[in-house]
Symmetry: C2
Subunit: 198 residues, 2 copies
DNA sequence: ACTAGTGATGTCAGTCTCTGTCATCAGAGT
DNA sequence: ACTCTGATGACAGAGACTGACATCACTAGT
């Protein structure tokens, strides 16, 4: 393993979040981050493919967790419910104790378009992985992708609320409410409304 | 207006799509594009904020069209139906005659992560704009965003099918089918399934 | 201990994206 | 002709990222 000061990766992640919070993403150079972490610019790029990636290391773990949860959902669970259940589990086991961290991180991301762009890419990858997991448990194709998309839409919407509200309302409760809203919104259109339609 | 050879913007867009198709996005430099278009690299960056943006000029027009359609939807139309109606209109009036172009463009985008990233950003902006349009016609907040997200999910899924299938099936028909699939997928979960839930 | 091997890091040179600044040039209005 | 304006060119430079090679600390084998 490493022979130098261990934990270079973690130091880089911490340094980056601090500097982005203090000075903003654009006004922080990779050289700045590397200096604070006590390594070289070159080393930064050995750990992270690009400057933005330093903020998204945890995404991989979340994705694996959610995919695992979907795979283990009780048989007979509908695709959307399987995703919703996975989100509930993540809310309890991953997000619950990281409200402060999530806020700081999200504030940085929201303040910069490039970072929001990367976040969307990560969410799209997550959506695709969930669709695969749903197919693996028997869902057919258009449904699997749509359930995954809907589930992530719920997650995005709920996450904004959770991070925005000062009093850290239980993330799981917000997810449940948001899912109900989605169902209501989609069902609303069921009744004929005079729109030309098909 | 321009005093030099007019249409610099269009020439840059054409040159970029050609070169990206021929050599790939990474192996094409902005200098290459500018040279083929008969301008300088500096001029490229006067028209487009960055190298990727040259492929997304049409997005703005599409967004305005869809927002306009949503605004004009008959009163009483549900949010999701308003979005679906707008998509139908766009399918007929914008996409119908551009199947070949859409395929080429999408092939380029799909072959590069950075471009897919930008595409996601554009779709997110579109989603946000639709949510605003829905609120303007009376939708409440969580519903507006969720309807917009769901509508865009339908669009994304349907677009993939439309571009993938060789025989250019009517885009509108695919959209209608996909919307029905979404409703089925979301309703499935309505019945209790033994999932812990709330 | 001595020596070779391994993995993480440093060093350096270079390409490409993107920006700021100033000069230039064609055409419109006077 | 004279000026004003808007688009473009020319240049310099910062910063992101890459490839190639050297180095150093520790490990394993002898």
């Amino acid at each position: 393993m490493g022979r130098w000061e261990p934990g270079a990766r973690g130091r880089l992640e911490t340094a980056a979040l601090e500097l982005f919070s203090e000075n903003g993403f654009d006004r922080t150079t990779v050289a700045d981050i590397a200096a604070r972490a006590g390594v070289t610019e070159r080393t930064f790029f050995r750990y992270f493919a690009d400057k933005r990636e330093v903020l998204f290391g945890a995404g991989q773990a979340l994705q694996e967790f959610l995919v695992g949860q979907v795979a283990e959902a009780p048989e007979g669970t509908s695709p959307l419910d399987a995703v919703a259940g996975a989100l509930q589990a993540a809310a309890a086991e991953i997000f619950a104790e990281r409200h402060a961290f999530a806020r700081q991180r999200q504030a940085v991301i929201d303040s910069n378009t490039e970072l929001r762009e990367r976040e969307l890419l990560k969410l799209a990858a997550l959506t695709a992985a969930l669709a695969v997991a749903l197919r693996d448990r028997g869902a057919s194709e258009p449904s699997a992708s749509l359930a995954a998309e809907s589930g992530i839409a719920v997650f995005k919407t709920a996450f904004v609320r959770w991070v925005t509200e000062d009093n850290a309302t239980a993330f799981g409760a917000i997810i449940a409410e948001t899912l109900a809203e989605l169902r209501a919104a989609v069902e609303l259109g069921r009744r004929p409304t005079g729109l030309s339609g098909d």
